[in-house]
């Protein structure tokens, strides 16, 4: 397991770096897909098989297809002066620092006792991931689930209205 963790970490960090540094946007997008796959690997290590499947289906599947489609529609072949903008460098560096500080904070506090739910790892292994999520979706979180479905329906109406050329 530990060896797998290092392999996935290496792939994730490497592909994330490549996303930022590659000059061709399409290559960047494909590296992002690789990064998502590596993250899905982490979820599998943590016994979150359902989340891993969702990660690949939703992010690597649906969202990245959209990104690639936009890149192809806009026909951006190459970004000329990458990283020459000082503004972007400063803001990017600042945000990276904040995120890094967050990770450090999390690791420092990681040893502390934290409030835990009733579903321990052993229990999840016994019942199964998908069953637990399904049960929650249809009992405790039934109403949010329904609201999400109506929300998506309204979003479809909006997309239809904005895409229509004329009334």
């Amino acid at each position: 397991m530990e060896a797998l963790f290092y392999v996935f970490s290496f792939i994730a960090i490497f592909s994330a770096l490549m996303v930022v540094t590659m000059r061709n946007p399409l290559t960047s997008a494909l590296y992002l897909v690789l990064c998502f796959f590596a993250l899905a690997g982490f979820y599998v290590i943590l016994d979150m098989q359902f989340l891993a499947a969702m990660q690949i289906l939703v992010y690597a599947g649906a969202i990245m297809v959209l990104v690639v489609l936009v890149i192809m529609l806009l026909n951006i072949s190459r970004i000329k002066n990458i990283g020459s903008d000082l503004h972007q460098k400063i803001i990017g560096g600042l945000i990276s620092l904040i995120l890094f500080a967050e990770v450090v904070l999390y690791i420092i506090n990681g040893a502390q006792k934290k409030p835990t739910g009733i579903f321990t790892r052993a229990l999840i292994k016994k019942i199964g991931n998908t069953q637990i999520i399904g049960e929650f979706l249809f009992t405790e979180y039934m109403l949010p689930f329904e609201i999400a479905s109506i929300l998506l329906f309204v979003a479809i109406i909006g997309a239809y209205l904005f895409a229509k050329k004329k009334y």
Partner: protein
């Protein structure tokens, strides 16, 4: 855990359905209005207009029928009690005014009606879900639901670049704010392990009873929950359009169809304030950080900025947008003042604010529809003589905004400010008083303009029919007139006999208090 009152003799599903009946009715009617679009014969504007009014009427009926219940539905993720009754009625009134205002506006602009009205109804149901939600997931989802309806409606005028631009700005900034809100919710969940607001409340209560914070989690929890609450506040302040997060307000209010501007100014603001009030009373109140200092700054800057910007703007919709930012600052004072009187004062002010804003926007819609007067304030010169009733109504609403006695605005301000003084926020109240004196200047400026004789000799009517006296009397829509009359009566009643409304607000604030 908290004590959930059980209603005996009713099973889980019945109880849960009962707790969301007003919203469900609205959603069913929204689908019915939408189905009208399938049939060419039925898709006339009038049908969807009347159908949505009937839907809102039914919903009000159900709220009144359930008004003495106290229901926790869907495993405690939805609450329905007196607090909701008050806010549901206010929200439904705001929706009703929006629908009433829209009829003529839709006819003039030739926009497709069924989608428009159904989106208003969907937005209404989202606001009601937001107000009654008692769970971080529900809060986030219903805020998103409400915002998506608002984004679509803002950009509803096809081919108008201002409307499209406003929708895009609102959408991008709104998505950013929602991200903050979601991140904040995640932090709160990570710190406490609960999504239910009452459960978070009792968790924090346990921590503060344990004293030194060592009992569960130590300092880590404090950091996470503070970060979470600050980010949550950012997300909500965007919807309440408080000062540093207000930048979308003038553009979105200006670009949107005017009835939708009313919808945003009344409904969305009310729902956001209501959920903030609930979360504030349950979570922020523990003073993990000095949140009242942050809110103090937000209130002061919102009032001052809103008033100064309103003074400088010459477009009536932009002016009302900036003044709504300032009004949000005043309302926030009630929450800062806190306690029972602060909360009930906030609710009272919110109700008063809805009626005066809806009235003012109805007048703007009348003038916009009749094409005689554009949105520029300069064109309002002299209308006091041509249209005495409408101009008088507008003056009354503006005086109410300014907080002149005998209007609901005065009672609301009085109530809110006195609660803040009671809690010892003297400086805040002093700044607010100076601000409202300053604000009276630009409100009264409009009134003076309306009753000034039209000096410009040749200001030809924008429409070609020539006689600009006769047009308005024939063209005013019943719905608009009804809106103005209802708002006028209620603004006056709340100013002269406020006790009924104060009792109503007290009852609902009382239920907020009793957890």
């Amino acid at each position: 855990m908290h004590n959930m009152p059980l209603i005996y003799g009713m099973n889980f599903l019945e109880k849960s359905m009962l707790s969301i009946i007003p919203e469900t009715v609205i959603i069913i009617f929204a689908f019915m209005v939408l189905f009208l679009a399938f049939f060419e014969k039925l898709a006339k504007r009038k049908n969807s207009y009347y159908l949505s009014l009937i839907g809102i009427g039914f919903s009000i009926l159900y709220v009144l029928m359930l008004s003495d219940r106290n229901i926790y539905g869907f495993y405690g993720s939805v609450v329905f009690n007196g607090f909701e009754v008050f806010l549901f009625i206010a929200i439904l009134f705001s929706g009703m005014f929006t629908v009433l205002m829209s009829k003529d506006y839709m006819e003039n602009s030739g926009m497709p009606a069924p989608e428009y009205y159904s989106l208003i109804l969907f937005g209404l149901s989202a606001m009601m879900f937001l107000v009654s939600s008692n769970n971080l997931i529900m809060v986030f989802l219903s805020i998103e639901f409400m915002s998506i309806c608002a984004y679509i409606l803002t950009g509803y005028i096809k081919g108008d670049t201002r409307s499209t631009e406003a929708a895009l700005k609102y959408f991008i900034l709104g998505a950013f704010a929602s991200a903050f809100l979601l991140f904040g919710a995640v932090f709160i969940y990570a710190a406490t392990g609960h999504l239910n607001l009452y459960a978070i409340h009792s968790f924090l209560e346990n921590i503060s009873y344990a004293g030194s914070n060592k009992a569960v989690g130590g300092i880590g929890i404090k950091i996470y929950i503070s970060a979470g609450l600050v980010m949550f506040l950012v997300g909500l302040a965007f919807k309440m359009s408080l000062f540093p997060f207000h930048s979308w307000t003038p553009d979105a209010y200006d670009g949107a169809p005017t009835p939708i501007t009313n919808f945003m100014a009344t409904g969305i603001k009310l729902a956001a304030f209501a959920i903030f009030l609930r979360i504030y009373s349950l979570i922020y109140n523990f003073n993990i950080m000095n949140f009242n200092d942050i809110l103090w700054l937000l209130a002061v800057f919102s009032m001052t900025f809103g008033n100064i910007a309103a003074l400088l703007s010459s477009n009536i919709k932009r002016l009302l947008a900036y003044s709504s930012i300032a009004q949000a600052g005043y309302i926030l004072i009630g929450i800062i003042g806190g306690g029972f009187y602060g909360y009930s004062g906030t609710l009272f002010y919110l109700l008063a604010y809805i009626f005066m804003t809806a009235g003012a926007f109805a007048v703007v819609v009348i003038f916009e529809n009749s094409d005689i007067i554009s949105l520029d304030i300069k064109r309002y010169a002299g209308i006091g003589y041509k249209y005495p009733f409408i101009a008088a109504a507008m003056s009354f609403f503006l005086l109410s905004f300014a907080g002149i006695p005998l209007t609901s605005g005065f009672m609301g301000k009085f109530y809110v400010f006195s609660s803040a003084v009671k809690s010892g926020y003297n400086w805040l109240v002093l700044i607010a008083l100076l601000n409202s004196a300053f604000a009276a200047f630009y409100y009264i400026k409009i009134i003076v303009k309306m009753y000034m004789p039209d000096k410009e000799p040749a200001s030809p009517p924008l429409n070609s029919s020539g006689d600009n006296l006769g047009i308005i009397s024939g063209a005013i829509d019943d719905g608009l007139m009804l809106t103005i009359i209802i708002c006028l009566i209620l603004t006056l009643l709340m100013g002269v006999f406020p006790q009924i409304f104060i009792n109503f607000a007290n009852n609902s604030a009382d239920l907020l208090w009793r957890i």
